[in-house]
Subunit: 333 residues, 2 copies
């Protein structure tokens, strides 16, 4: 059973994989060796993954066979284990609990050689419907306090398989980064009686300098104080703290905004590896909170930029967001 | 002039290099091309760096000529600029100030092909004396609130030059990571009336499982909830919140502890790239605070491990610290 351990100084929880611990010789081997070889996520290879927990499939097809357009399966090598109680316990002065949680993989398409820019718009939209369906199911589990939804694209961004996929991790704790964001947004709201994200949207629409694009429901900006070069956020214009509450039309426009943004990045930065993360309110908050605003943060991983930041937690960004936004906005797509 | 900008949600300050902004084509080029070519840090090339602000040198030698064993120079491409006022100002809802600060490079030895394990113990000790001398000088400047002292070793860890060197950055703000640490330590102290780090030292000495080594003044441990595999901390046994207050004998034992630890890492992990950071109390705190305890955090950068963490700020560590400590403790050095 993996463990969740709390750093007694910062209060940060980390997952420690106690049962598949990596030995020194495991580092340095890249996971790319699977490239070109067998892919468990490809259509036809359904039997090689754990059984699906969700699939959008041809009504005449059977579960765990071909005939799907989107599939969600438990991660074969999960960071957390779905069964068991939390068993919160002290270890001397330290705090830990069982690494209980869900770790699922959303396979975005049965086709191996696809990227988000190459996918059909409806398949990108379905990815968001898939996230929503899984969140609605996972949040019924009272043990969970937060669901992280993210995509790693490219091995430098942490992807271990090439086939287009994203991940969900349901956690029994709220990550420190989310906690800091919630507290900051709440402090702003208490002071101004307005949502900080709504204010950001308003200001970026007025100033234009960091605006990448807009459609009826979403705005894409390079944020004012980005940690990383070409860091880009996609925010709903309509205030909502809950990603899974989107109406159907909104997911189409979200898919359009995300696909266009990654197309822009691919053209400006030559297909960079990237991470995107859905920042969503923790579970068990009041259903809608006025001070928080869900959004997506996209971070291209540009070679050798992150060494210093990784070590220190302090960020030096060599590309002003106004420059990044100009490059992204002006590229032909 | 670079800018310090504050993220309005998290309160995190980031440095934005507005004047030497990186364009898309600047990414992807590694900085390794200097390898084997001319090195400005080598003995004899003193004229190619900015003039030294500190040197330990042969009393008969002239400044900025050969004859030194340690040299500190301003960074030729500083992230911050030393001249000017802070000029704190709003930009609509956002907050910024001039990127005023010092960015210095400490050249640890005139010899190019050296690593900390290969250096003479007295040269490693001098590195710490050099940090101390520069901190004592920089802290006279009322504009500065924090001095970051760190080393990037290897290009994957962010080093742009191979020659052994470390860096000091004096900042007009306290980084969020330091603020979180100070607040956490202070909360613990208010509750327990003891320093959390002193308690950690006591517990690790008792339990032994995460202990790497000890000498008269320092203890080396893998922390209970490490973010990264083989993350290792060096802590003074004697409570102190201020690195620069060490007595002379302490720096010898600190040099011994650091050199041995990196030697262990080099053997166990085959010369990994790494970062180390001195965690020190902010300036202008009361001179000694009972709740904070300065220390060094060393993080080997093990290939491809950090992609997910980099993007999400949430850490999954595949190596339990008890395993890491065992490998490091048991290797022959």
């Amino acid at each position: 059973m993996p463990e969740l351990r709390k750093d007694p100084i910062s209060g940060r929880w980390v997952i420690i994989s106690t049962n598949r611990g990596k030995r020194p010789s495991d580092f340095g081997r890249t996971i790319e060796e699977r490239r070109g070889g067998f892919c468990p996520f490809c259509g036809g290879n359904e039997a090689t993954t754990p059984p699906e927990v969700l699939a959008y499939r041809n009504p005449n097809s059977l579960p765990n066979t071909a005939g799907w357009s989107l599939r969600v399966v438990p991660n074969k090598f999960p960071a957390l284990q779905i069964e068991g109680g939390l068993h919160k316990v002290g270890e001397g002065m330290f705090d830990k609990m069982n690494g209980v949680g869900a770790h699922e993989v959303l396979i975005e398409t049965p086709k191996h050689d696809m990227t988000i820019p190459q996918m059909e718009l409806k398949d990108v939209e379905n990815m968001f419907w898939g996230f929503r369906d899984r969140i609605l199911d996972l949040k019924k589990d009272e043990r969970f306090k937060y669901i992280m939804v993210f995509k790693n694209h490219g091995s430098a961004a942490g992807a271990s398989l090439e086939h287009p996929h994203s991940q969900l991790i349901a956690l029994p704790i709220v990550p420190l980064v989310v906690q800091t964001e919630m507290e900051g947004a709440s402090t702003y709201y208490n002071y101004k009686d307005r949502c900080v994200f709504c204010d950001i949207i308003h200001q970026e629409q007025t100033m234009q300098a960091r605006l990448v694009s807009e459609n009826d429901d979403f705005i894409v900006i390079c944020p004012y104080a980005p940690r990383f070069p070409f860091e880009t956020w996609v925010l709903p214009k309509h205030h909502s703290s809950v990603f899974e509450d989107c109406r159907k039309g909104e997911y189409t426009n979200l898919a359009r905004a995300l696909q266009q943004t990654i197309t822009r990045m691919d053209k400006v930065l030559q297909d960079p590896p990237y991470n995107f993360i859905i920042h969503n309110a923790p579970l068990h908050e009041e259903h809608e909170v006025p001070y928080y605003h869900w959004h997506i943060e996209i971070m291209p991983k540009l070679t050798k930029v992150a060494g210093f930041e990784w070590g220190t937690g302090f960020y030096i960004n060599p590309t002003p967001p106004e420059d990044a936004a100009t490059f992204l906005r002006e590229i032909d797509i």
